[in-house]
Each structure stands twice: as structure tokens, then as C-alpha cells.
């Protein structure tokens, strides 16, 4: 143990503990900015400087390991002066249009300014000296360099968590900026639109592109029938932006709020999540049959899930030679979109051109996905607008809804029913678990051999998880699988996806089926979820997801009555011709820069 004094209080810490962490143990708050719990230490904003007795300079608390006998003071005149200067310096290069900024009152720089830099401005305005770019090219987010404070959280996120480095530091000195390959617009680089940088940007430099006003316009338009779908991970995180602690489930209140906002029909992405399991599970079994019975060498393994549009863009850029390994299933959002303007329109006897389809997603990449040219199977743009969890919270506040005191209500019928298997799509491993629950039962006629249907090996926050399921006692149709060991893996965060893909490229992948989600923790940690994020917060959301599953009456996708009905009335059977037209898609190779 290492003993040190902070503000004359003695503390013992483990070797490797930083001064910042030691201070936090004593409940001494040291302000930080570039520091983020998910990322490596940068030590570049210098907001956390403290005084160490005997040291020539101040030290950055976030980057300094505690050492025996250290005498640290966090609130001396020297520290306060330096901190004030640093915040003032940051403000001098930051376009402070706070009252108009999307991040107003959610900005970490603003919070620091409030503490350290109120009153007269000390330094000269530098914003006017620079020709800043505001990059609106991505359908998912806006990158406004005039608000960038060069903390490099986004750069570290893109590199450390996502293994992409679509954004990196360019130039030096006063010309230093966060930029892309050859300064190309974000829409024309390797960016996957995952939004993890947006989640970690302390200011308004990186924010999702908002479509709130478009949605309001549709709601107010009497000619339009506005349907809304909500993704599984939204219901366990929305509360955070409305005053709840992380991990609160607000499903029923959210449905009521959506009704009060004026949507004509409140439906659930979980319905198409169940449908995805039927389509994707069948696809997997068909591929296995092709490989094992027909000895078809073109049956590509491992088969990858295709629900996460960030992951899809990643593989299109980085590993395009394996696009045929992807499931051809659209994501639940896009399946929903295609069905809303066909099946739903027919059932409700509504002209599909009058339908506006909105989705509430934990994701920024979904905005991009909805814009893909492949996503017009209904003859219209299948999904018109995608809002993030955060944007929905903004709408709820705009409408003056007292969220906390809302009654719960249920999703509307037709495409609103779902099972617990669909809810867990929101957490890493969830798609795999849902698929196994159904596929195992199709093949053997029995439930998966796990207590209470909880397939625990595929759960949790480990970057790459794997499991083996031995298939025994197959029904007659599936005898060729008798005794087979189905090897599956799950990766979340693209840095982990890359590990799987490297293995695949080297020809060493032992897996049959792999679930990959672009974001850490899966959709619960998505780029559209409430800010801040941390491992602790994501774990709480994950716990809530599994609680939601446990509370559902039905917990297997193939038991969803709406799913059974749609196959009977409209689709025929999984992977049918209609299914292929509406629910499946193809992918394109993209350049790797």
C-alpha cells in the first residue's frame, strides 16, 4: 500500500492508483475534462492540476500515480489560478453560443466555466481567428470544430473502443484539429456512425443530427398517420434523461408519453426483433443444412448477425471479403419499416404514402441505416425519421409532459406484441440468447437446457464471449444435426469485433454463429443513449434489460402471437419469397480510409 496526504488527510491506496482516484476515495472533487472512465489517461486538458509539495510544477492528478509520502493540495491559490486560466483558455477557443447549443446545460465545459470562469473574460477571443469547419455530411451526427476543445476523447474512443480511427489529431500548434483522412467529410471516410464519440464529447462539438422538428411536423400534419417504434434498449435508459437513476425501467410510461406526444400508433421494435429471430434462425439452420447435408462449399461460416448498422458499416469497410458471412436479415428497425408501409398499411387500410414511420433508437448509426438506398423495400423510404433516446427525452420535455407521474400503458396491437427474447436484443449476447432459445427448440422440440431459459454463458460485459451448445435428440427433420456442437461467439465494441474478424481472416475461427454489436455493452451502450456513459451505468442498464425479460409472459420469439399471425396472414413462412423481398437485404464493399 502507498500512503499519501491529500489536503492534510491521510490515505492508503494500492500501487497504480492515480492521485485523482485517491482524492475521490476521500470525497475530494478534482475537476476533470479530458478524463473518461472508458478511456486511457490523456492528461492533456490540465484542468485537474494540483499542487504537490516540493514539485517544480503542478501535476495532473489524472495522470500522476500516487507515490509514498506525497503531500497533495487540491485547492491552493496556485491551483485555483491555474485552473481558472485553463478554463478561460478553453473558453477563448470555443464558440460559446451556449443558449443556442444542443448541449446547453449538458456541457462539461459549461459546468466548469460556471465554477471557475464566471465574471469578466480574461483572454482574447480566438474563435474569430480560425476558419472552422462544421461537418454536417453524416446523416448521424454533426462535427462542429468551433466547439472542439481538443480533449481527444473522441479520438481515443474511435481508436481504443472501436479500432477505427476515422477521426484523429491532425496538424500541430494553433492549427491542431481533430480531423479525418485527408480532411474528407465524415460521410466519406471509414466512420461507422456508431456515435460513441458523441457519447463522450464533453461539449457540443459532436452531437447527433436531430430530426425532432421533422417529427413534430409529421405529428401536426393531419394527413399523416405517424407510427412510432421503440427499440429494446431505449426503455431501460430513457429515464436517465428524465431524472431517474440508471437502470430504471420506464417502458409503460414511455408508451404513455409517446401517445401524449401525438403519435398515431405506438408499436414496438421488439416485435420485429422476434421476427428477426425467426428469419435469422431459419437462415442459420438452412446454412448448416447446406454445409452438412448438401456439402455446399459456398455456405459461409461463421454466420454473423446483422442487427447493428455500425457493425455492418465496419465490415463493409474493413473486411468486405466476408460480406457473404453476414446474415441477409435486415435489422429489426428496417424490418419494421418495410412491414409498416406494407402489412400494417393493408391491415389498417391506410395509404402507405400517408404513413410516416418514426423509430426511437439507442443508436446514431440507425439514422444512417434508414438512409441507405437498400432500405426502400416498401416502395417508400421504409423508415422516415430516426430519433435517439436523447431526442425522445427532449421531445417529452418540450411537450411539458410530467413523465414521473405518468400512468403506464401498453403498446398498440398488430405490431406491438413482443417476448422477452426480443427485449434482450438490447444487451450484448441478447440476440444470441434469443436465437438459441428458438433454434434449439425448432431442432429438438425441447427448450434450451438452461435454468429458466437464462443462457448465462452468453451474458455479461466481457469483450468476446463464447459458448458451445451440444445438440442432442433432434426431431426427424433435423437429424443431420444430431450430436453436433454449435460453437457461438459474441463480441461487442468494434475493437472486439476486430479480434473475431482477424481470426476469421486467418482462417482460424472455430465458430458457426457470431453476434456482433458495434457498441460497448451492445445497444444499451449505444451512441444515442443518455450521456454520460460508463461501465457502471451500462451494467445497470443491462441488469434492467434482463429484469424486463424475466417479467415477460412469453420469452421465446416463436411464441409471439403477432409473429405467428404475420406468418399466417402475410409472410407465409420464414425465409419465404415475401420475407426475402421485405425483410432481407444485401451489403456493399466500401473503401478502407
Amino acid at each position: 500500500m502507498i500512503n499519501l496526504n491529500i489536503n492534510n488527510q491521510r490515505i492508503s491506496v494500492q500501487p497504480g492508483t492515480t492521485v485523482l482516484e485517491a482524492a475521490r476515495k476521500l470525497n475530494i472533487n478534482i475537476p476533470t475534462l479530458c478524463n473518461h472512465p472508458d478511456l486511457c489517461v490523456a492528461g492533456n486538458c490540465r484542468v485537474c492540476v494540483v499542487e504537490q509539495t516540493g514539485a517544480r510544477t503542478l501535476i495532473a492528478a489524472c495522470a500522476m500515480p500516487a507515490a509514498e509520502g506525497m503531500d497533495i493540495h487540491t485547492n491552493t491559490l496556485k491551483v485555483r489560478n491555474a485552473r481558472k486560466h485553463i478554463v478561460e483558455l478553453l473558453l477563448s477557443e470555443h464558440r460559446s453560443d451556449c443558449t443556442k447549443c444542443y448541449k446547453n446545460q449538458k456541457c462539461e465545459l459549461q459546468a466548469l466555466a460556471n465554477e471557475f470562469a464566471f465574471g469578466d473574460t480574461i483572454f482574447l477571443d480566438l474563435v474569430e481567428d480560425h476558419a472552422y469547419t462544421i461537418d454536417r455530411s453524416s446523416p448521424s451526427f454533426t462535427k462542429d470544430d468551433s466547439k472542439c476543445i481538443h480533449c481527444q476523447r473522441c479520438v481515443r474512443t474511435c481508436h481504443e473502443l472501436q479500432h477505427i480511427s476515422a477521426i484523429a489529431v491532425a496538424n500541430k500548434g494553433l492549427h491542431q484539429k481533430i480531423s479525418s483522412f485527408h480532411d474528407r467529410p465524415m460521410s466519406h471516410v471509414v466512420c461507422t456512425n456508431c456515435g460513441q464519440c458523441v457519447n463522450r464529447c464533453p461539449t457540443g462539438a459532436l452531437v447527433e443530427k436531430t430530426y425532432i422538428d421533422h417529427v413534430w411536423d409529421a405529428i401536426y400534419d393531419k394527413d399523416k398517420h405517424v407510427v412510432v417504434q421503440t427499440a429494446p434498449a431505449v426503455r431501460v435508459a430513457l429515464g436517465e434523461d428524465l431524472g431517474y437513476d440508471p437502470g430504471e425501467r420506464v417502458t409503460g410510461k414511455m408508451v404513455t408519453a409517446l401517445k401524449q406526444l401525438g403519435f398515431d400508433s405506438i408499436l414496438d421494435t421488439d416485435f420485429t426483433a422476434d421476427l428477426t429471430i425467426m428469419e435469422e434462425g431459419t437462415e442459420l439452420l438452412t446454412r448448416l443444412k447446406k454445409a452438412l447435408v448438401d456439402k455446399d462449399k459456398n455456405a459461409a461460416f461463421p454466420m454473423f448477425t446483422s442487427c447493428s448498422p455500425g457493425w455492418i458499416k465496419f465490415i463493409e469497410h474493413k473486411y468486405p471479403e466476408f460480406l457473404h458471412n453476414l446474415s441477409t436479415c435486415k435489422s429489426p428497425q428496417q424490418m419494421f419499416g418495410a412491414l409498416a408501409k406494407t402489412f400494417y398499411a393493408q391491415k389498417m387500410k391506410i395509404d402507405p404514402s400517408k404513413i410516416v414511420s418514426v423509430s426511437i433508437m439507442p443508436c446514431t448509426a440507425k439514422k444512417y441505416e434508414a438512409d441507405r438506398p437498400e432500405m426502400r423495400a416498401s416502395g417508400y423510404k421504409d423508415i422516415d425519421y430516426v430519433l435517439t433516446t436523447r431526442e425522445l427525452a427532449v421531445m417529452i420535455k418540450q411537450a411539458g409532459i410530467d413523465f414521473r407521474n405518468l400512468e403506464s400503458s401498453h403498446y398498440d396491437s398488430i405490431m406491438g406484441d413482443s417476448t422477452g427474447a426480443a427485449v434482450i436484443f438490447g444487451a450484448t449476447g441478447g440476440v444470441m440468447e434469443a436465437a438459441l432459445r428458438t433454434a434449439y427448440e425448432i431442432v429438438t422440440g425441447r427448450e434450451v437446457p438452461f435454468t429458466n431459459l437464462n443462457i448465462t454463458p452468453v451474458r455479461g460485459m466481457e469483450g468476446v464471449k463464447e459458448a458451445t451448445v451440444k445438440i442432442e435428440g433432434c426431431t426427424d427433420d433435423w437429424k443431420f444435426l444430431e450430436g453436433a456442437e454449435l460453437k457461438v461467439a459474441i463480441a461487442h465494441g468494434l475493437v472486439n469485433a476486430n479480434k473475431i474478424m482477424k481470426q476469421v481472416r486467418e482462417g482460424k475461427s472455430p465458430y458457426h454463429f457470431v453476434e456482433i454489436m458495434a457498441c460497448p455493452g451492445g445497444c444499451i451502450g449505444g451512441g444515442g443513449q443518455p450521456i454520460p456513459t460508463s461501465m457502471d451505468i451500462r451494467k445497470k442498464r443491462m441488469k434492467a434489460i434482463y429484469a424486463e425479460d424475466e417479467h415477460m409472459a412469453l420469452r421465446k420469439s416463436h411464441e409471439n402471437p403477432d409473429v405467428i399471425a404475420i406468418y399466417k396472414e402475410f409472410l407465409g413462412k420464414p425465409n419465404s419469397h415475401v420475407s426475402h423481398e421485405l425483410l432481407h437485404t444485401h451489403y456493399v464493399e466500401r473503401e478502407n480510409y
Binding site: 486538458c45 490540465r46 503542478l58 495532473a60 483558455l89 481567428d129 500541430k172 500548434g173 492549427h175 491542431q176
Partner: protein, 386 residues
Amino acid sequence: MEKRGLNKVDLIFEKVDPKEVLTKAFTMKSDEIIQQILDSGLKGRGGAGFPTGLKWKYTAAVKEPEKYVVCNADEGEPGTFKDREMLDKVAYKVYGGMVIAGKAIGAKKGIVYLRGEYRYLIPQLLMELESFHKLIKAIGFDFKINYCLGSGAYICGEESALFESVEGGRGEPRNKPPYPTTSGVFNKPTSINNVETLVTAMMIIKHGPESYSQLGTKDSRGSKVFSISGDTPTPGIFELELGMSVHEFVNEFGDGDTKAVQVGGASGFCVPRKKFQSTVIGFEGVPTGGSMKLFNSSRSMYNVLHNYLDFFAEESCGQCTPCRVGCQQLLKGVEKVKKGEVKSTYLNELLKLADTMKVASKCGLGQSVGNAFRTIVENFREEIIY
């Protein structure tokens, strides 16, 4: 204060037989070499002045099979050009110093990080290196030197930014600790020394620490190569014993009208005429990596300062707030003061900012911007304002 007067020395460029010196070093034990360097009182010649013997001792103490000797030849401080001369004239002594350092710390690999602008020297340096490798092999050393070229960024002379650059990363300083002695290039224990330090180390092994420590003062042992430029009839490279006053220096090199000397380049200190007598050139007074720039009365100190600030605003890596934004604020601030767009008392705010940069910047670059700023503004305030 101990003073030595101005004495010219010929140690660095003295012709020696490398075989003789290195054979001697080969027979010495690692801690013998370190002790001799410690006894000599040699401090790093790049400007920061860390005791070389200590640096070697710390690196030697780390148990790790793979260690590095890095020669910092990224000579970028405005007004210094001595390392180039050494590489041009006595490269074998630079290599010799590296081998000796390698023996001292237990390293088998050396890297010379050469300033990009010096790439024209590469053909001759590599030729010399080839014969040098043969020589040390014959003596029995197991040591290999490689070259790495910079790309023109001043910050890459900062040791940890240099490591990043060698590794193929962006030249940005790292957080310290860990220090290079435990985790340097490729995260291996590294002794990184200036070109001149390595040459001097070789000469200490040749002549012995006693004779070397006869030169100089208690705090500044030995001699040093100075790059002399500006308003002087005799610009060039001179090796002088440490411990002279600026006055003595100006008497020798000035043009009779010297009003200020910038000691240590852009990151160094400006000494005005009234302080020539009382200022010693060395670690007890104004330290220098070698750059000595003389200004006569025809020079505007505003222009001098503006030039330095312009340099720093460009050459900051841009990573940390105090340096990136601070440099721009100092530059814009003095411009506005000069134009009369802000009150002259704004200089006081800027002096406070310079203090913050000194204590809160991440690396030596940002920490030393205030040196020139403070000494020029305090001594030539009227030239900045009017």
C-alpha cells in the same frame, strides 16, 4: 559566485583515436563508467541539464534485457547549430558515446533521431557508421546503431515526443512518470542523451573525470559548445569553459553595441545589458543548450518576442491547453498591446498566463515559453508597448 572567465577549449572537436578510447571503455565495468561520468559532473547538454551519470545509473538499475540508447539529434532550438557540426565533423565520437552509454546501462541497441532538415548528412553518416560498426565489433562490443529521421517538428526534440515519433506515432509528449529510464522508446528502459553529451562522455572516458571537472564551476562542470549568432562579427561555433559572465561573453563576441543576449534560444532567457555583469552562463545563472543570440540597438525587442511567440504558437504540439491556447493568447496579446487595441496593463495578465503555462503545461515546451516572454517583457516593456 564562482566565476571562471572566458576560456576557449578544444575537447569536443579534438581528434582522438576511437579504437583507443573504446578499448579502454570495453575493459571498464558498467558501474565504473557510470562512476566516472558522475564524478565528472557532466550535465545534459541539450539544455535541461539532468546529470548524465544519474540518468545512466537509473537506466542501468532497471532489470530488463532490452534497453536503448537514444541520441537526440533533433537539434531544433532556434539559434543552435552545434550538433550538426559534431555530426559533420566527429560523428565517430557521437557513436562512441552511444556505445559507452550502452555498455554503462546494458543496452545493445542505439537510435540516432536526426533532425529532418539534416537528412543531407545521412550518406556520410551512414558510411562512417558502417566502419564504426566494424571497429566496435573488432573490439568486442555487441551494439548496433540505427537512424531515424524527424520530419521538422520542434516538439520531437522533447524526449517522450521523440519516442512517439520513433514508434511511428504522432509527436506528442507522454505523461511522466514513467520516465524514459524505466519506460522510454518502445516502452523499454532508455537513456536519451544529446549529441554533445555523448561526445563529452567519450572524452571524459579518454581524459578521466578529474581533468574534466577541473573545467567549469561547481554547478556547471566542464566546457560547452556554443552556437553564436545575431549581431556579432564572429558568428559560429565555439567551445568555451562554463562559468563566464554574459559580460565576458559579450566582450568577446559582441559588436560593441549589444543590448541583449538571448541565452538558450526561444525557450531560454533574455539577458539585458544592465544584467550582463551579474549573470553567469551556466546552471547557476542562465542555462543554455548552446544557442547564444546577440542583439544590438538596431533590433526591436518586440519583433524578437513576436518571432519567438509565433514560433511557439506553430510548434506547440497542440495537445495540452496551457501550451496550445496559451501561446496563441500571448502572441495575439502582444500584437494587440502593440497596436494599442488593449491597454498596456494587459501585459500583466499575460505575465500571469506565462506563469500558468510554466506550472501547468504537460512538457518542457509549454513550461519554457514563459522564459523568453517574461525576460523580454520585463526588461523591454517600453519596446513592446510603443
